[in-house]
Amino acid sequence: MADSKLFSLSEAIDRFVPNGSSIALGTAQETLIPFAAGHEIMRQRKRNLTLLGPISDILFDQMIGAGCVSRIRAAWVGNVITGSGYNFRRAVEGGRVEVEDHSNLTMSMALRAAAMGVPFMPARTALGSSLYETNGSLMEMQCPFTGETLTAVRAIQPDLAIIHVQRADEYGNAHCWGNLGITREACLAARDVIITAEEIVEPEVIESDPNRVVTPGFRVTAVAHAPWGAHPSPVPGYYNRDHQSFLDYREAGNTEEAFMTWLATWIDGVEDVGGYRELVGEERLDELAIERPAPTAPADYGY
């Protein structure tokens, strides 16, 4: 059997996220956002990172505020239910962060191109838009067969994809369910994949349903156990979205000072995701619990 890939989250981030890395995260968009991993990256003050994603729901803004980020290649950075991300806004307006402006479609095609091992993907979006002015990964092209004008999207191969899943085994085999966003493409495109999981389970659990496996285990670099590791975003089967945290964050990001207080409290003020959970408080977490379970009808893989 292969060697275990199980690490503590802090060790996984320390070993596999060098300064200057390009990282795809938040790939499922509003669900399964790897907040615990992002927070550990902030705690370790990684530097000059490039963040890749479709829409990003406050995690990118937090990592920018912590000074970890020099470049963003994404479709949307902000706070989904309140609007702007103020650290992002200040960093861009202050010229401290470079942005490549994607749409959800161009970002998914950039990662799919890398996942397919080809240098670009053709698309029909963004023609006539200003995205061409602020995204060097887009180029107009003619279809070799029909002559139609298309948008060629250049492949983006992340150094890392960091994803949060429901359950994984210690060898990197993981089950992920719900809306997948661009998670599959990101994992297949990335050189290394780091998985944080609500639960670490026996390999038999994962092997019982190979169609639910998010990416082949042999491509995964590290697995870390991070219960509530996607809070305040929702995890299908585990907990609901903590809307209040997103609402509170609007104030936290509002000014540089306010954010420094937030950073000192929620990141540097706790040791790990366990400390974070305590700070959120059991009562608050209990309110997010799944109250109406809805298990799947079984499928059979026997012979």
């Binding site: 968009q29 949307w76 702007s84 479609l105 602020t134 719900g178």
Partner: protein, 257 residues
């Protein structure tokens, strides 16, 4: 702003719902459209299909109020949970009938800006960006724009075209290679605007109850065309209001002005 038994947001949600036809495949966006789709589903468009960029396709309505498309009730008993790219394929193929997007700036040809306001690179305000908006504006058979109607937002020409409308008018979309579509309506805080058949220039179609045409013109940054027979935007019915209140019980999106 309004002194009636419904809020402006509720009026706009009802107007958005009316833009959806039964059987439509609707690419549902954030905020008010999220409610507009649910309202249409529960009134005149029971067979509409909702597509959400996260990778969700729904035929039934979510069983509980949701604040955002990623809320777990919106995944429960979905028709399909898949990759964003799969849904982008439906969009590029032309299966999406209508979509909704909001913005910070719109111009007379319905071009929308949600990225940079001001002069790049130095004197600019940075906004969140496209998300899926550029894709929806490029590829849906028609799209609906939701706007706060202010002079600084209704400008002769947007500073940045995040989501293409009709460019500089006429057959611009065909010329740049967009396969179809364009904005069908702009639902604002003051009225509802549409686009001329040939020129593709925006014009005022209806004003909301209590709003005058002059008020709309004063709050538009160019010499806005006006329909010969400007009507009043229909008020939401009692049934519509009770449904909207069911979907947004705390008035998070549709509470007072």
């Amino acid at each position: 702003m309004h002194e009636t038994e419904y809020t402006l947001a509720q009026l706009m949600v009802a107007a958005a719902a009316r833009e959806i036809e039964d059987g439509d495949v609707v690419f549902v966006g954030m905020r008010l459209p999220l409610l507009g789709f649910q309202l249409a589903k529960n009134t005149h468009a029971p067979d509409a299909v909702g597509v959400y960029e996260l990778g969700i396709v729904r035929h039934s309505a979510a069983p509980e109020p949701i604040l955002t498309m990623g809320d777990l009730p919106n995944l429960y008993r979905a028709q399909w949970l898949a990759d964003t790219a799969d849904l982008m394929g439906l969009l590029q193929q032309g299966y999406v009938d209508v979509s909704f997007i909001g913005g910070a700036q719109v111009d007379r040809y319905g071009n929308l800006n949600t990225t940079y306001v001001g002069d790049r690179p130095d004197d600019v305000t940075r906004l969140p960006g496209s998300g899926g908006a550029c894709d929806l504006a490029s590829l849906a058979n028609r799209h609906i724009i939701i706007m706060v109607h202010e002079k600084r937002r209704f400008v002769p020409e947007v500073d940045y075209t995040t989501s293409p409308g009709y460019g500089d008018g006429g057959d611009w979309r065909r010329r740049v290679g967009l396969p179809r579509g364009g904005p069908a309506a702009v639902i604002t805080t003051r009225g509802l605007l549409r686009f001329e058949e040939e020129s593709k220039e925006m014009y005022l179609a209806t004003v909301h109850p209590g709003v005058t045409v002059d008020e709309v013109l004063e709050n538009t940054g160019w010499d806005l065309k006006v329909a010969d027979d400007v009507q009043t935007t229909p008020e939401p019915t009692a049934d519509e209001l009770s449904l909207i209140e069911r979907f947004d019980p705390d008035g998070f999106w549709t509470g007072g002005p």
